[in-house]
Amino acid sequence: MARRSITLDPISRIEGHAKITLHLNEEGRVENAMFHVTQFRGFERFCEGRPFSELPSLMARICGICPVSHLIASAKACDELLGVGIPETAANLRRILNLAQLVQSHALSFFHLSSPDFLLGMDADPATRNIFGMAASRPQLARDGVKLRQFGQQIIEWMAGKRIHPAWVVAGGVASPLAAEARDQILAAVPEAMAIALRTLEWFKASLAGFSEEIRTFGNFPTLFMGLVDSEGGLEHYDGVLRVTDASGRVLHDGFDPRKYADYIGEAVEKFSYLKSPYYKPAGYPDGIYRVGPLARLNVVDQCGTPRAAQEWAEFKALSRGSVLSSFYYHYARLIEIVHAIEAIERLLGHPGILDKRVRAAAAPNNTEGIGVSEAPRGTIIHHYRIDEHGLCRGANLIIATGHNNLAMNRSVLQAAKHFVDGNHLREGMLNRVEAVIRAYDPCLSCSTHASGRLALRIQLLDAGGAVVDELRR
């Protein structure tokens, strides 16, 4: 039998456009797998020549799902260009906004993109394995997903305004103080959001027993993990230092200054994808494979920082003696982070200075280079800018969360495909599992122009000459 390849193009239920190619050997078994990102964004070039003060709102447009994450990393880089320390209240308001972003993004990933698999099964008919099937089977779960996403979105609207590009987070702080009415609206919404998060977590934990094979084969291998931690080694999404741990849970680097990221993170490029392949430099390429995001964050920290999430984190950590390795557990970690975020939002809003009027430090640029790092829902994002004497951007480097996970996603696809896919007898459920591995990472490749039309999943089996010998369509 000739060597063949299977292509999944586009992958469904992820943010952005990508495809998976599975290469089969003569026996029809998977030999290699590649996760391709097929869209080119070019933001690093796009911002050259723009005034640095425009960069936060410009960078927010990188993504329609997590604009706040880029807004915050960008504003932090601009704080450094100004050379100012921003008021504490401004930092806390940014934290709240970032956590609200995390809640709404995690809710989208968990409830609407991945829950159909959990609720209806990986082998369920794809015609019903979706939000409507979920609504028919467990309407309250579907409504909970909407409600939790609304919770995060509304906080962002109440704090940063309703327009599509909130210009509220700016270099030096935030543009205006928090109104008491907005604070009270958010606090009033906290109990329902927390109730939803906790009942979803209980339901998911009870469901895990039905996914032991997926847990065993969905990106379950040793890698490094990276994420921000606070000064006490606690869960941190806005500031702090970057910690790297290994599969055994050993801390390899306890807190390098994010501004020195280039000393520790290399950026490789592969021909088959527009997405960079960052790696931990001390380990080399590709051995320096690491993961970021909810799973990594819960692996690198010493504690969770808020009481309810701390209980859940202790239970989560008990899954393994060292780091929790299976990428299937990204979903679990996502839910714990939602609990943490709701608790942290409530706590921050109770800070006595949260309504202070002084929320912005003003200055002209004092530095020509600025680096901003924060934790987006999907993991660490790094914005690095260089400006000239006129304050115009002369260079930018962005490492986005999904990029950090690129090597791990590729290896995960290969592991799952080798386990589940038989090229001689293709079944939809096999290929759904390969996609589901990618969905566990919740990659955000970000939409560019969304032309109308079908985004059907196409799976092709090609022979060595490139001829289609089999094809599945959803």
């Binding site: 943010e15 799902i65 909407v146 560019s448 122009t449 032309a451």
Partner: protein
Amino acid sequence: MRRVLVIGYGNPLRGDDGLGIAAVEMLMGRVEAGLCDPGVAIRFKAVYQLTPEIAADLAGADFAVFIDAACDNVQGDIIHRRVLPSASALDSFSHQLTPEVLLALAERLYGRSPEAYLYSIGAASFEYGETLSEPVRAALPALVDQIQAACFGTQS
């Protein structure tokens, strides 16, 4: 009071894909200037893409308008059509939802969906840039006139 929801969606960094946002901003400006019937409770959403929580907003509206650029029509032509709830428009529950799916989701989850229409202009360019192409820019005021008439029952 009639509850109207206007949703403009698209990426304003990709040329004509910013049509939905531009139309929302123009109509919002007219409302804020007092040029529209105050007896209508109108809400606006300007978003990159259609996401599930918008179903809850739709369930609370009597009338809804979606605004998006069209890539398969004559450049500068204004098009509008009725949108009906349809779960079958959900092929694989991809990263973005359609108006039809959102309306169906509103019905399934909340038991109701509004009368809804999609308004578009045939786009000329989706290349990087923050400006609309000339054909789309020229047609934008007329598009907003039509949407305003549909929402308020009056022309500006």
